[in-house]
Symmetry: C2
Subunit: 701 residues, 2 copies
């Protein structure tokens, strides 16, 4: 086997010259390793086949990793000009694996393989020159050119693995065994699996920003979970253990399968794991370069849907809450493996291409009583991938993770025999659609802890209107206009006498409610839009909310707000967010010392009804605060219900006059302000508005 | 007859106490005169009849003039509370006479007449108190409370006249002769009319702001016209002169009538003037309180359509360009009447209720060879009313004139026997729909000067989008952001080398073109929207453009821009505005030293086509300036034609990058700026945008 040099790089050091050599070496080794993998293909025509209908032919992946370097360096302006614009367009975008029936039928005019090889050589030379000449200071940080080089290297190492999965599906006639890609020779009967008890406790997830190796965006941030104790299978589920499920008709018994699993079964007609092949009475298994009798003691390789079906089948048999582990549970196991790549003196598993170019028996690498915590094959979890609190995209690769934060991409952990570089780190997080194949199997746990306890999906809110309002309430200042909900609450504050109950009616995404919670014992935030309320609710529950805002055209900026940014070390417990109709509130929304109606009245169908009914819900001496730019529009308020902005009896009649007439008998007008606000539509286009704020105090009866 | 005290008031003086007495007197006399007019009605039921189907019954007008005072004083905050809110709603809005078939069928619950009398008494007392106690400094100016009092008085004097026209249509059984409202006893054969030559010359129209009497908004401003010499009829057209037209079948011969006149004829079936009545072989005429044999030597009373038909008939007969006078021509005649109300020691005509409560023979008041230049009956003109340059609304009565600047309201001049106060001023300007009846007749002129020469209608542009752009180009600064087209041209200026030809492509309402005309020999302003181009064109042609902008809801502010405000003492002659397609320009739009495309590219269906074709129209060393916020929207540009704001080959691709790629080979990027702009939507809501400006210089071939 070649010298794989597959551990990732330390970012720190004192000697830039030697770090430059390390980078050159890591780049060159990765590049050559990647090309070496494609040497198992014994004819150029095979590069143009599509063994996996959901992916491009291999020619794309052969060119893609080179193009990726060029595209990212071009974007970062570290490369003066492209090598081959046509190739760099063609090799730029992979086929997404978003759905199993989303076949790619674009007609591509792929180049010849020798042309791609020549292109790769050109790119290699160019990159070696960049590495030689780029500015380099230590440690390497995400804004340095060396980070872009590492991004390209780690990206190529991901494709080393995923390409190996595609090659594993090429018809065997196109493949020749290769001395550098030998399978494990060990096979035999699997050991009986049994359960190992693992103590629960608190667990911190997320990579520190100062960790001394390259990390992808999704690894950073921080999350605390409380794990209950659980039992876990000592071994990965072997082919032998899974065969029982197959032979008992597991692929025909739909009750074991989740809805998504049933749909996948129906679409594919699968009867067994993808790399198994029935031959007469035998089962065979396709490995990278050979077809062999099914190695019973190797881990089974399945997608997450199959793994879950097995767990459901087994749970039903043993009448125990048996399921896949969560990411956190796997991380608890991971504590049994000492140290981490790149600091390993010896590799503690079938990992980093250190052992074989295939799986191996499940009982080879003992990690303190549990086998294959890392390496051999990836282990599916129950956890849909999400960013940890504090997640931020890297500006050069803002869609590495964000499209997968959708609840449909599930994490695999631990790495496989061909997981190298960043993939083999304890912090690494790779997720795929649940129907997707990798060199991936699973182990199971028995736990009474609900999966939801340790996971959630903090989806990016991408609805343009909602995201605009999140940015409006929680984003930065534009044109030096202070945060509007905060300014409004600050202007109310001097007038507060009783501090018991406050109502933020038309609370939108909730900022004013949160600010009021610092001043009142109980705050109700009510909005007619359940979608707006949901944002506020999620922020309160999770301490964080993510959203995208348009920068230009379809391009977005990724944004987030956390409660701690808002100076809430702990989530306030005295705010509740409820969906409701300002004109038809439930009776319990009563007895308020403050009712704040901000940007509400000109969005109501019948604002007069609101103004007529809300006073009864306000305590004597309590405040009613109306803030509005009086933007009357027929799409919200029929013209006959506009409070003002009309000629009444032939005379100009403003909303301000109307408010005085409607409220004047029950309230004293304490103060008026003009309060500006800015709503961002794009990075260059904003709504800039001047609201009128009227503070009314209810007259004692 | 009562002491009419019908001349309006001087605004100036040194003694506020005596001015307060004058005001009290003018108010009280007007009030009592108005009530006195209604005394000719001999039963209360008659107040509820509708002799004129297009107007309210007389009860409305009886209450209305009182309510008007209250409403305006309330609006101006000079009155602490209303007298009778119900009445003040009911009596507020008159029926507009906008169309002859727009009948008012609202069901009104009118109060009894004694209730209205009581209400009028209450209002009178309240107003006398206001006049007694209001702050008063001299001279009285439009922002003082005395101005509001005068507004109410002059308003009542208008209704004195218009109510007398309605009473003249009440069936005679409801009317009793009244000693204070006596008709002229003089009747007889009319004198033969003949023509008097009037010398042309320059004429200045418009009232000086410091004129010493109350004026309505439409009287102010300034306009210069050049009058050709003309001949004018010595007398108003008499009943006798008009009878010939009637008897010759004038009402049946449609060729004499304009389109509007024909439609009116068809709708009404009119065969003779409205106040004429055929009785056996005789013609009778209805005056205010009596029906009398048609006084042949009194002026005929007709609407403008009938007057025009007569002129057309007569012009055809004598084969001369005979028509109604224009406003300017009448004003030329007015120079024959010395002095002006309120300075008249003796009243120079049948005017100001100084003589009779009716017309009188046309040969009674000689003004230097021409009779009845003022008084007797109003004289219809050819001129549709419009504001003079510098027109501004009064904030308390912004719809006194503005709705009539529509080309459909035509001026009457000179006043009638019952025109008093402001109505009897030389500067006064009253206009009605052309089918409308007043105590109005006409005289005619023979002139070769086209009517259009001395008039135009500078209609308020009320289309919200167009008005927004007029305000954007020509209005004030908001948020201290400098005028955008001007800022753009200023930023270009240092880079201009040749100053021959400039193209402002996507010029909208034309401000940048005008600014460029100061720096280039020839400027073409081209826009795809004919409606935008029209604004720019009109501003250039007329030196002024009016528009309304939304303040709140349906309420608008009245705005105008003049070339002189833009520091153009004379209209620039080196700008032309043309409709055209930026992507398909005619060949002659070529050889430019500057092409400015401001806020254009993200509104084109195919911006790349524009960028590919425009360079050929630019001279070597010439400039191409692109200014845009890159607000890509599918409603303007299909997504596949967006220049940037997309992921291209998986990478972020901005419009700025796209411009560099498209233009880089033919142009050098000289400079880039961020240029903010603000577009007002309401008084409180604005679009605030930051455009990117790129200045490119074409590389010499």
């Amino acid at each position: 086997m070649i010298k794989r040099n597959a551990q990732t790089l330390s970012l720190s050091g004192t000697d830039t010259a030697s770090k430059r050599r390390e980078l050159t070496d890591y780049f060159r080794t990765t590049w050559e390793l990647y090309e070496s993998l494609f040497e198992v293909i014994n004819n150029d025509e095979a590069f143009f086949l599509k063994p996996e209908p959901l992916r491009h032919p291999l020619v794309f992946y052969f060119g893609h990793t080179a193009t990726f370097f060029i595209n990212k360096l071009t974007l970062a302006k570290w490369l003066p000009q492209r090598i081959n614009p046509r190739f760099e367009s063609m090799f730029a975008v992979g086929v997404d694996e978003m759905s199993w029936d989303d076949l790619d039928d674009t007609h591509y005019q792929w180049p010849r393989i020798d042309e791609v090889r020549q292109y790769r050589d050109q790119v290699k030379e160019a990159l070696l020159h960049v590495i030689d000449t780029m500015p380099l200071t230590l440690p390497i940080t995400p804004d340095s050119p060396a980070w872009v080089i590492l991004m390209g290297i780690e990206h190529e190492r991901i494709h080393l693995e995923t390409s190996s999965v595609i090659i594993r599906q090429l018809p065997l006639e196109h493949i020749s065994p290769h001395p550098q890609w030998p399978a494990c020779p060990l096979t035999g009967i699997a050991p009986d699996n049994d359960l190992v008890r693992v103590e629960g406790g608190p667990l911190t997830q997320g990579r520190c920003p100062d960790r001394d190796s390259y990390g992808w965006d999704n690894e950073y941030g921080r999350q605390q979970v409380q794990l209950e104790s659980f039992q876990v299978s000592r071994f990965l589920v072997s082919n032998q253990e899974f065969l029982e499920f197959v032979q008992s008709g597991g692929y025909q018994q739909h009750r074991h399968w989740c809805d998504e699993g049933q749909a996948w079964l129906k679409f594919t007609g699968a009867r067994h794991p993808r790399f198994w092949q029935p031959r007469d009475d035998l089962w065979l298994q396709r490995n990278l370069t050979e077809l062999v009798p099914l190695p019973m003691n190797w881990p089974v390789e399945v997608n997450q849907l199959e793994a879950k079906a097995f767990c459901n089948w087994k749970a039903a048999r043993i009448k125990q809450p048996l399921r896949l582990p969560t990411e956190a549970e796997w991380q608890k196991l991971r504590q049994r493996v000492e140290d981490n790549n790149p600091d390993w003196a010896s590799i503690p598993g079938n990992l980093l291409l250190d052992k074989w170019a295939s799986s191996c028996p499940v009982d080879q690498f003992d990690h303190n009583g549990i086998f294959d915590v890392v390496g051999n094959v990836w282990q599916w979890t129950e956890t849909a991938i999400d960013g940890f609190s504090g997640f931020e995209v890297h500006p050069l690769y803002d869609d590495f993770s964000t499209p997968t934060f959708d609840g449909k991409h599930t994490l695999m952990k631990g790495g496989s025999w061909i997981s190298t570089g960043n993939e083999a780190l304890a912090d690494s997080r790779y997720a795929f659609r649940r129907h997707f194949y990798q060199h991936a199997g699973f182990r199971y746990v028995i736990s009474h802890q609900p999966v939801a306890d340790t996971q959630y999906t903090n989806t990016y809110e991408t609805d343009a209107l909602i995201a605009q309002y999140l940015e409006f309430h929680y984003g930065p200042s534009y044109f030096e206009v202070a945060n509007f909900p905060k300014a409004v609450v600050n202007l109310i504050t001097p007038h507060i006498r009783q501090q018991c109950r406050a109502l933020d009616i038309g609370c939108s995404v909730g900022r004013a409610s949160l600010e009021l919670s610092r001043r009142f014992e109980q705050v109700d935030g009510i909005d007619f839009s359940a979608r707006f309320i949901q944002q506020a609710y999620e922020l309160l529950q999770r301490g964080e909310k993510r959203y995208t805002v348009t920068s230009e055209g379809d391009l977005v900026d990724y944004k987030q707000v956390t409660l701690s940014q808002l100076d809430f070390p702990e989530p306030p417990t005295n705010v509740r967010f409820v969906q409701g109709d300002a004109c038809n509130l439930k009776p319990q929304f009563d007895g308020y010392d403050l009712v704040l109606a901000s940007n509400l009245i000109d969005r109501l169908a019948n604002p007069r009804l609101f103004l007529n009914t809300i006073p009864a819900r306000i305590n004597d001496d309590g405040l009613l605060v109306i803030v509005s730019p009086y933007t009357w529009l027929e799409e919200f308020t029929p013209r006959e219900h506009w409070l003002g902005g009309l000629k009444v009896n032939g005379e100009t009649y403003t909303t301000d006059q109307a408010l005085q007439e409607i409220l004047g008998s029950q309230f004293e007008l304490v103060q008026q302000h003009q309060v500006p606000f800015v709503i961002r539509e794009t990075a260059r286009k904003f709504q800039h508005t001047l609201a009128q704020m009227s503070i009314w105090r209810k007259i004692n009866n």
